[in-house]
Subunit: 360 residues, 2 copies
């Protein structure tokens, strides 16, 4: 194991992992890192957590061990801990010290499966928001008929004013462009009708601001709940309350249809036989809607990349969250946001560059 990285370029490829967060920690964190490491030989890992628990697991993965370092941390932030308490009392926790590594430019990004509220509170406090961005938002990829969309906010901000929504639209558009490669992303504000008169003040004012303000994408106005998975737009912008409810409603509906499908197949011998023949197709279907593929909620709008992995995911899912975080760094998401903010508000939004990635 090497010592802590010190140069910028090393930091880009170094990922800080909260080894103690989530239901299956630290096992799932180490196995997940092993999988991500196989896909990305350039990545180095910093594991923050209980050395006595991490070390034996790391010994089982010699290739991973070669490019990893354990930073022993005495404390853990539990899933029940209130964010304010985690902020005050978690100074020596695995979560806090992993986030610190990003602030100190020892890592390019941090991934944790721990307490979402605590992670957001600490990340906000330690990393601070990007110049021109008032509030960070939680974003995730959503499978649609036309590929993938990005939706934000998913719960960081229960109440948002119009300007918050406008900033989310900007971040979503930049994400869609720089990370997903969409040339001119289409943007929709989540509402309960597509008419201009519908919805509460915030969403209507945001729509009118977006009609005037230059943004790297096409603002298509309002979209409705069913548009999220229809792929009507590349970026769905909403407040954290509605976004969280929409995302979880979608997850629930997918589970219900799968449940109905399973029951239907098990209802007769002919159906079972049919299922056996179509097994390959069902596997494709399962893979396409696999929640692990969509694991990794991004905290956008911070001066540093922080990704929240689902607390109950497995190694495959955690590996995906690592790749989501790494991708944000490699594509220079934050640098591009800073550039957009500087262009729009005249704010000097330069952030410490963590990447040499070519910007378009």
């Amino acid at each position: 194991m090497k010592t802590l990285v010190s140069t910028c370029q090393d930091a880009v490829n170094t990922i800080a992992l909260d080894a103690m967060g989530g239901d299956n920690a630290p096992d799932c964190v180490i196995s997940g890192a092993a999988i991500a490491g196989e896909h990305h030989p350039e990545i180095r890992f910093l594991f923050f957590g209980d050395q006595s628990k991490i070390e034996p697991l790391l010994n089982e993965h010699s290739a991973l061990k070669e490019r990893s370092e354990i930073i022993h941390t005495p404390d853990i932030i539990t899933s029940e801990m209130k964010p304010s308490l985690a902020l005050r009392q978690g100074r020596n926790s695995s979560m806090r010290l992993a986030i610190n590594a990003v602030a100190e430019n020892k890592a390019g990004c941090v991934v944790s499966s721990g307490n979402t509220g605590a992670l957001m509170a600490i990340a906000k406090f330690v990393l601070r928001t990007l110049p021109g961005i008032d509030r960070p938002a939680i974003a995730t990829l959503i499978p649609t008929k036309n590929g993938e969309s990005v939706m934000l906010d998913l719960g960081a901000n229960i109440e948002c004013d119009a300007e918050n929504l406008v900033q989310f639209a900007l971040m979503g558009a930049v994400f869609s462009h720089t990370v997903l490669g969409k040339k001119e992303p289409s943007i929709g504000l989540l509402n309960i009708g597509t008419e201009e008169l519908k919805g509460h003040d915030e969403v209507r004012i945001a729509a009118s601001i977006l009609r005037e303000r230059p943004i790297p994408g096409r603002v298509l106005g309002f979209v409705e709940g069913n548009d999220i998975t229809a792929g009507t737009v590349d970026v769905i912008v909403t407040d954290g309350f509605s976004g969280n409810i929409a995302l979880k409603s979608i997850e629930g509906a997918a589970l219900l249809i799968t449940h109905f499908l399973r029951e239907a197949i098990e209802s007769s011998l002919m159906a079972k036989l049919g299922y056996l023949l179509a097994r390959g197709a069902f596997k494709t279907l399962k893979k396409r809607a696999d929640p692990r593929k969509y694991n990794g909620a991004m905290f956008l709008g911070l001066q540093g990349v922080c990704v929240k992995s689902h607390g109950g995911t497995d190694a495959e899912g955690f590996a995906n969250a690592i790749e989501v975080a790494h991708n944000l760094v490699l594509r220079g998401f934050n640098e591009r946001i800073a550039k957009e903010v500087a262009a729009q508000y005249g704010i000097n939004g330069s952030v410490p560059s963590q990447t040499a990635a070519q910007e378009d």
Copy 2:
């Protein structure tokens, strides 16, 4: 065709239909009534709309014609019309006059596939809210793993205070009890976490009021988006913005999974063959999640039963909306609400009884 009914008992079994609302009007309204009429020989229909269009259609259904009456109305409320305009200028519209029939006790309920906003505005103005209920809410049945739940509000009230949510909980519980036959319905407030500290003020205050106030059901606290289709509770209470987004997100997700499933089946010959064998099971699945089965959004909290059918539904779907409305009348939903309100607030909430149905 008989003349307009005049006695109360006749009104219970008389349904006023806005024959001009929706994409497939008046065809779908007449064919839908024919289907509902076959299931319920006791029902009589009043068709409000353009006589020259309704009459030829009715001539094709002799059994239906026998128990129907056409009330010619010169005007139509279009789907684009603003509710305020519809209220002012729609006095001679099919929608308005169909609602008037309920207010005048000539019909037990009204069903329309027309403009939702206009329907709610006119129904509120003409029928007025039930004593003790400040605002009507839109409710619908939701398929779940454990049968059916009811969710409200779905868009009538974009912003709700805690007391509105408490009243929705009461109406949802009474609906679940009197119409769905649930003995002690479980009630959940839609939120973005199940912890007491989560969510905005309104939902948290509503939860604390519900903990104190007697309500005909068990209040289980907060539920999340995925709980809606999981069947965690019998009644899901939310504001109209979140409820509308949740419902449409669920519809969109169901469409996406169906789309993925279709693509997977069409991807190989083996899968197609498997599908043929399992066809019966797929039919069962399709039937179980058939949106027509869930057509008929109920406007709860008014002194009269008003049901909104989906504008794009077919005859089968419209027939379902008719049965939803008829059921509310037969089960004495409004009378029971009045009783609950009187018991809780000491308000004399008696409404003109439209039904002789046994109340428990």
